[in-house]
Symmetry: C2
Subunit: 251 residues, 2 copies
DNA sequence: CGGGAAATTGACATTAATCAAACTTAGTGG
DNA sequence: CCACTAAGTTTGATTAATGTCAATTTCCCG
């Protein structure tokens, strides 16, 4: 691709943030906007497959996803991996590490990503001067909790088929509302190994389940990912209902 | 402590809060203490087995656990249940419901519990006037996220034996640091059905695993719960390390 | 053309779920 | 004090789900 570090990268000024304009994201008050603009220290651009943050590390920054997507995961000493959630445009990355001593999970880019960079040590300033934004941060943390609860329900109590259906349905839902992909996109660029590590299944078994769903015409595996053919049926299979969320804050 | 209703219940004034005194909990500044004292609207006492909060409900309150313990869970339409986490002294209960429209999970008391009651609609006032407390709330939400990540890793990637070992070890760790039970208590009052619903296993299988661990002398099932005989071995089995947490905030 | 990452497949082993029943204990009312 | 019940635990037999192993295939890329 293009040039790398030498030339100063073009940055989105917060005033023209593509997210703020997006339906579903709340707008800032002028003074909040001004603050966030100062608060934002730069942009981070990473390649697909790059590790953004590592378990056990102490990163002086945290981020908001501007574009692209990634996933959070944990490893066991023997290499077993569990993907705990995904991060899409508007989502925070690394806030936990800013509050606690060190990161308790790693983050990897699933596509190339662009992120806004904030400084950990200025976080408390935000709390002192912009309670509304502080409240929003807590809101986002609570939203993460809700998603994790759902993932836990899925991994703990759904069958393999239901899990795949649930994963696909929920990713599509989130992607649409975050503007990750254009409105009616149905391609999920993900690897079967990643699906397996999200659902707590083995790669081989995951493959067989996917194959079964493909035979039933609900989805199709294409190069580099999953094409959803029949979202409604998948949602029904997963016994899952779309979340009707209110206007959503972000940083 | 004015007289108000018929029989005014005895309440812990925040000034004498037994939690604040506890090692591991951070202390308040005087003005914070005064605020929290006003913020606290009362106490809620519930029986073992009672449902504190229900998925889908809109509760005008949220809580801090003063004593006892409970669990958060989600249900599927067909009755499958997943316990997502436990709540012990110092933990928040129902904050998520105060930030979002409605509760996304239910909460049940595992023992009789005593909780401090706060008003949802006064929450934003806390953010405006006590940034430090607001920061603490976010910290606690982040801590919940860390625990959920760990549970997800456990349910997704640990074997049944490891899961039981992990559950027991982590409960004991949390209980000790929250002062749920006296320092070296090793009795966990929990039902095998609840263990199963936490770990994503069936009741029968859970029982067989527990039996096996009992044969190996790692634990013993006694009336009303689990007595831990060999914590070190269980920790090793779970490949789990005790969290060395800094001084911890609460409300 | 060779190499590597991802997907696929079949055979087989292991783990966990389901079914059905018995057992234990505490509480309840006669 | 004794059925009787209910909740929780235990067990064995059986079935179903999922994991592991070992190839093979496909396709992209240098």
């Amino acid at each position: 691709m293009g040039a790398d570090t030498a030339a100063p990268p073009v940055q989105y000024p917060c005033e023209m943030c593509p997210l703020r304009a997006r339906k579903g994201f709340r707008d800032f008050y002028p003074e909040e906007l001004a603050f966030v603009s100062r608060f934002k220290k730069g942009e981070l651009s990473v390649q697909k497959g790059a590790t953004l943050l590592m378990e056990g590390s102490r990163n002086p920054h945290f981020y908001t996803v501007l574009s692209g997507w990634g996933f959070r995961y944990k490893l066991m000493p023997d290499g077993r991996r569990q993907i705990v959630n995904f991060a899409m445009p508007g989502d925070l990355v690394g806030l936990q590490g800013s509050l606690m001593e060190e990161m308790q999970h790693s983050v990897e880019a699933l596509s190339s990503m662009l992120l806004c960079v904030f400084e950990r040590k200025e976080l408390y300033g935000l709390y002192r001067h912009f309670p509304r934004l502080a409240y929003d941060l807590t809101w986002m943390a609570a939203r993460e909790e809700v998603m994790l609860d759902e993932n836990l329900l899925s991994v703990g109590r759904r069958t393999a088929v239901e899990r795949v259906a649930y994963l696909v349905a929920s990713i599509l839902d989130r992607a649409a509302s975050s503007g990750l992909w254009p409105k009616n996109a149905t391609e999920i660029p993900i690897t079967q190994q990643q699906v397996a590590d999200t659902l707590g299944l083995s790669l081989v078994h995951t493959n067989k389940i996917i194959r079964k769903l493909a035979e039933r015409g609900l989805l199709k595996w294409v190069e580099g990912g999953c094409r959803v053919m029949d979202l409604k049926s998948l949602q029904r299979l997963a016994r899952w209902e779309e979340s009707t969320l209110e206007s959503r804050p972000f940083l």
